[in-house]
Subunit: 135 residues, 4 copies
């Protein structure tokens, strides 16, 4: 997370009233969750009983896409638009909850789903706390 | 849009009650808007008065990212999750409205902003109509 | 493809010696192929014999990601870097050939793989012709 | 990087002869570089002399897109395709070198460019070492 905080500190204009700790954690969680969901979709695809995991894979793919987009948007501060930030954070919280639920169903059977469910919970929480701090 | 409709027709399971015309148009609008916003951000970057366009560029970049993610999610039908679909469509409608407003301010001065504002309006409308049809 | 050509025409600086017809077709092919591969991965995921399609799904996901990135990079003209353009076009041609081959194996069985294989061939050809025209 | 290694360890099939340390570092570098380049493009956009940074911004945007795609592809192991892996790694190495050079030119003036140039060098090196280890 060092690079995220370093980049926040070098931003040349005012970052406004946003909570920098919560922002940095949310950016980190979004990128980490995008990677984990991409890897979980692929691990599911290599399971012998992949047919039982099709819904989980689809959820992983959606979660990776939305987390990545959220992570990008939160990394930009120029011309801040509260409506856009809030709406993508809400979509991210929604898909993390859904993907976390899907992975949790298989977490007893598949280690990658257990790790991924935990990551989704972390990202859901980070989005939730950042939304709350936006006021 | 031919390839989008063709792929919808070849989906092996039931697509549910979704309005296929509105879905196909929304997928097309999302991908077209992602391309147009990417090109508009770059065209703005080459304008002599780029300093006046920084907010517009940022809006273009956000819009390209969310439209692309929405286009991907709408292209998936396995394990359909109404909450995820609705939340990403709402984020997409929000960013298209914002980016359309930003580009419209410069549409008298810059042709690329005029074309891009129109595309954002089309995508905002397509998201809005698909959201309504979801019930 | 109208919006792609319109945006090319509104670019405020010189586009250089690039073949605009081949460029526009390649941008269109990249975005169309990204959509088609995303939809084909999802359609494969809903097939009863999904276990036979895991390699095809993985290839679809890679192809969607690289095509999307190529389409974005080709949509930018500011500070043109021939090495970057050439290397992403080569990666795109490689993944389209690979994904086209994977889908073709199942094109007798699955209509979505037949449509997707054709799209991959179109995008491979568009990348190939654009690379040649770069000299 | 913990989550990347954890996911590598939970992959259900054989990962082949790939060097896991180099693979994990390259995945981490790709995602970190995608975030840093996204933030650097935005920080450049907020500089008073943004007109002097247009080429740097464009390079940042390309680098973020290719790094993200590389990070995704390296996170997948099912149906491994050496040609695709090698070609995206070569594109990633090329864009990281180019973006690192662009940012370095401004690293005396702008801290975000200094941090970003270092990140691009790290990612270029990680791609280079992974390519070499592929044999």
């Amino acid at each position: 997370m060092t690079h995220i905080k370093e980049m926040l500190e070098t931003y040349p204009k005012d970052l406004g009233h946003i909570d920098r700790e919560k922002l940095a954690e949310c950016i980190a969680a979004c990128f980490d969750c995008a990677q984990t969901c991409t890897a979980c979709a692929d691990a599911c695809l290599s399971e012998d009983k992949v047919a039982d995991l099709s819904k989980c894979i689809r959820s992983n793919l959606d979660c990776a896409d939305i987390c990545e987009t959220s992570g990008r948007i939160l990394s930009r501060h120029t011309g801040y638009d509260a409506n856009v930030t809030r709406s993508i954070l809400e979509a991210c919280r929604t898909v993390c909850r859904s993907c976390g639920d899907n992975c949790e169903e298989h977490s007893g059977m598949h280690e990658h789903c257990r790790v991924c469910a935990e990551m989704c919970r972390r990202c859901e929480k980070a989005c939730d706390e950042l939304i709350s701090s936006l006021g």
